[in-house]
């Protein structure tokens, strides 16, 4: 019997070892370990053994069974793993083939930059306000100290609907409306489209965008204006950027300043971008003229404020190296899809 067991073990291990498929393996398991298998048959005949022989044979039979089971299991996982390998191999893809997607759209470059401006100023405590584009002359000119006879009011520069109604030439009209509607403190930006009677060319458009800002509170100073615009420029262009405040004249601010940005390309050395000047004109600003405050029912002895106006197209064109403003309004998808 011992011999019989050893033969079965030997034969079975050889068969399992040589086995090449899961089905075949299962057949072998049934053949040797199944209820009607060879090993089971031998175990069933244990009863014919003597009491002395039985424990030793029992032990041997169990060992054989254990060995065969282990061999089947180990072969089983070996075959499984080979099958998985084969499957994975068959499923290989060319990862350089293009992916499939429903492409998403892109914000217009003007709005990409405007969104940034809004975020910067909102972070500084400003709210964004909107107002009419077709506007009354009093909000665009009269209340902003731009009297009848001022060249800005000329028909050559401004689109008129009637004598009293025009297409706004600046979004300052929104600031006037805001000051009339709300008591200080006021901290707003008023981005939007403005209209001037310029013929279309690479650097002019009869419609363009401004982002004007206004702060009115107690004890607002020219230093505050400087600090605010410097912070804005640093957020937009990075910490290294330098600004220069240059005296200028606007009817609605006093003192007034134009603000130049040190050329970010040549850092002030002079290059084609800044036309050799080292500085790029960026925006106009100043302390709100006391007459403008009075016009809006704000006491200039109690409150002061500053205002500034940024031309959006210019910033966008500089940022993306766009040399023709018309591209912004032509909306060719080959142009639009270059942004992100």
């Amino acid at each position: 019997m011992k011999e019989q067991l050893q033969n079965i073990e030997k034969e079975a291990l050889a068969a399992i070892g040589a086995c090449g498929g899961l089905k075949e393996l299962d057949a072998l398991r049934v053949k040797y370990l199944g209820k009607k298998g060879e090993l089971t048959a031998i175990l069933k005949s244990m009863g014919s053994l003597s009491a002395e022989e039985r424990p030793a044979m029992g032990q041997l039979a169990n060992t054989v069974r254990k060995n065969l089971e282990e061999a089947v299991n180990s072969k089983n996982s070996e075959l499984n793993s080979a099958a998985l390998d084969a499957k994975l191999k068959a499923e290989k893809v060319d990862v350089t083939l293009p992916g499939r997607t429903r492409p998403i759209g892109v914000r217009h470059p003007l709005n990409i930059v405007l969104d940034e401006l809004k975020e910067i100023f909102r972070g500084m405590g400003y709210t964004v306000v909107d107002g009419p584009e077709v506007e009354e002359t009093k909000y665009v000119f009269d209340m902003l100290n731009t009297d009848e006879g001022h060249p800005a009011r000329d028909e050559q520069d401004t689109f008129y609907i009637t004598d009293k109604i025009l297409l706004r030439t600046q979004t300052s009209s929104v600031q006037i409306r805001e000051m009339l509607a709300h008591k200080p403190p006021i901290a707003i930006i008023s981005p939007g489209r403005v209209y001037r009677s310029d013929t279309v060319d690479a650097t002019h458009s009869p419609i363009f965008h401004q982002c004007e800002g206004l702060v009115i509170d107690k004890k607002i100073t020219f230093g505050d204006l400087k600090g605010t615009l410097e912070m804005f420029a640093k957020r937009l262009y990075g910490e290294d950027i330098k600004l220069r405040f240059r005296p200028h004249h606007f009817p609605y601010t006093e003192p007034s300043a134009e603000v130049d940005l040190q050329c970010f390309k040549c850092h002030g050395e002079g290059c084609p971008l800044c036309k050799g000047e080292g500085w790029i004109e960026m925006l106009g600003s100043g302390l709100v003229h006391p007459q403008v405050l009075i016009n809006c029912g704000i006491d200039p002895n109690e409150y002061s404020g500053f205002a500034f106006g940024i031309g959006l197209e210019r910033i966008v064109m500089m940022r993306y190296n766009i040399d023709d403003m018309r591209l912004l309004y032509e909306n060719d998808i080959r142009f639009l899809s270059q942004f992100r």
Partner: protein, 795 residues
Amino acid sequence: MDLSMKWLNDYVKADMPAKEFADKMTMGGSKVETWHNMSEPLSNIVVAKVISLERHPDSEKLWICQLDAGQGEPVQIVTAAQNLFEGAIVPACLHNSVIADGTKITKGKLRGVASNGMMCSYAELGLTPGDFSYPVADDGILILNDDPDIEKMPVGTDIRKALEIDDTIVEFEITNNRPDCLSVLGLAQEAAAVFDVPLNVKEPEYKTAGGNINDELTVRVENPKLCSRYMAALVKNVKIGPSPRWMARRLRASGVRPINNLVDITNFVMLEYGHPMHAFDLRYVEDNIITVRNAKAGETLKLLDEMAEPVKLSEEMLIIADGKKPIAIAGVMGGEHSGIMDDTTTVVFEAACFDGVSVRRTAKKVGERTEASSRFEKGLNPVNAEKALKRALELIDILGCGEITDGIIDVKSGEYEPERLKLDHKKVNELLGSDISDEEQRGILKRLGFGIEGDELIVPPTRIDMHLPCDIAEEVARIYGYNNIASTVPKLSCQGKRTERQKFEDKATSIALSLGFYEIMTYSFISPKDYELLGMKQEQRRSVVIRNPLGEDTSVMRTSPLTSMMEVIKRNYNNRNMAARFFETARAYFPNGENELPDEKDYLCFGLYGAGEDFFTAKGAIEELLEKLGIENAEFTADSDEPIYHPGRCARITVGENELGYVGQIHPSAAAAFDVGVEVYCAVIAIDKAYESMGGDVKYSALPKFPASSRDLSLVCDDGVTNGEIISVIKKNAKHLEAVRLFDIYKGEQVPEGKKSLSYTLTFRKKDATLTDEEADASVAKVLKALEAVGVVLR
């Protein structure tokens, strides 16, 4: 304003490289646009004397000249000019010189003879005969022997220095609050302040020749409102001739052509003091009377300007008249006989203050906006008028070109009182956020020409822009240096936040982008023809009309964002961009009554075309947009009445009572009108209506605890029955219905002609128990019965 640096240096010492001067003036408030040297690009041209002159051996026209050009050795130059002689003083362009047109002159050989440069004409120096006080040859070499300054130009002198054309001209951009800076003295005052150097201006002085002006001329001012001061002086025995070189050069540097000494004096004074003057020939002042009055109806005047037709004067125009007739339009231009002629002997100088608004209107009406009128427009003061007149007389004296009669006629309304402002250095610091001492502030203001008496600031009469403390602050700040004021950041008590509406719009934009739409930006004015192309209803075409448009193409404010969208699609289609999805947050404008502001409404406008796009991709995008914006229960109803759209492929979008807009295929005729050869789908959503239709906050509903059962139904019905109708019957009749979804539409062999098959999956679920098959079947049975009643049967 073009400023001659030589002229400036008559009054302040500002001797420095032009770039440094320009930068500092700019930062002090006088913006320099650019500068150049008047003599550019001349170089290496010197004064030379012809020592000898001999015929070229091989030419009948050429001369071989030996020149003393101060080089030690004589210089040999071969020339074709025929006006040379031994001893002639000429400009010689040496080897490697440059003449006015930029040509470089080098040595060479002419018919075998060495020539080490050339001699040149006035034109090759960039000059005109008017730049010389003596006749110069148009054809030939410039001969300098008659030059009054010949003593000052020994051989070898650089020609730029010899002819005083080595002047730097600085071009300033003067803002319209500072007309005082449209003068040499105004800019000299600024330079004095910027560089902290003294301004050397003295009161004009001159000798008179006796007599009494009042015996020879009468001045009457009939409208003192429009003429606050009129001053006149008389110069007899004038000698008309060319101006001296220093005067001619200064005029030329300022862009004014020298004419003759008398005319040049009036121009010189205008440039120097900023006050226009006029000179009348007394012979043509009939009755020796000057009257400043309004024109009478029917009066005309032929102007100095070479206009063929005399101008018609009207009653609101202020004119200068003699005893009989108008002789000048006040502050604008003189009449044809009023000017200085070669045989003029007695001159009346006028310096006056005319009302700026009146001058502007008159100049505009007669179409003659002159140097003088543009200065009067900005407002001139009576003090400067007097200085200017006296300076003109001083120049007569200096030039020795006439005899000044004693006395000045001065008709004025009241005495000039300078503006006085209270000095308050604390207020200035309060506005600037600075800490500039009282003493420093006073110092700056004095440098700028302000007078100070105690705590009072006395504003110079030329400074029309000084009225308020903030004006003083600007003066102090710009000279102290804007960039020397410390930057601070205000502590705002406001909170920066978006309104709910702004959040809604931002979200709509994000969703549109994620649905594959590229954002566009278009002009909000359009051509009225675009309405025609799009086939819009007449009542939708009533627009806000621009009175002075650039052209018809941009003459009305759009009433729909669709015309602009179609323009963009047209451009893209024509550029062979075969497919695209666009959207715009666009404004449209709806007129109200005249002199009332229009209504402005914002829309989300979508446009899409190309392979794979159809009504349902457009509708699907809108459904997704509305759903994610929290707009529930949007209904899409077929609408065949909107002529913009395909009558069978257009849906009106509503939420309850709110009309949100439309989605549909642009009518093929409209697309064709825009030259687009493919189907174009568009949608327009009114943002305000969509915002109003937004549901409330999201509340989570518990995930189902019990399983669902589903049933598929294949139905057959007439072609005309819509999915919407079937769904609404199903929803109304199915108990425990959780969802219903269309999964197939079929027309063909197994379905009779004129019919179609629609297949739906109905999902049923109970909240509180497992739904039994019987319950599901019962619900389906009820649905089928209801469907049968409207002619929809199980296939």
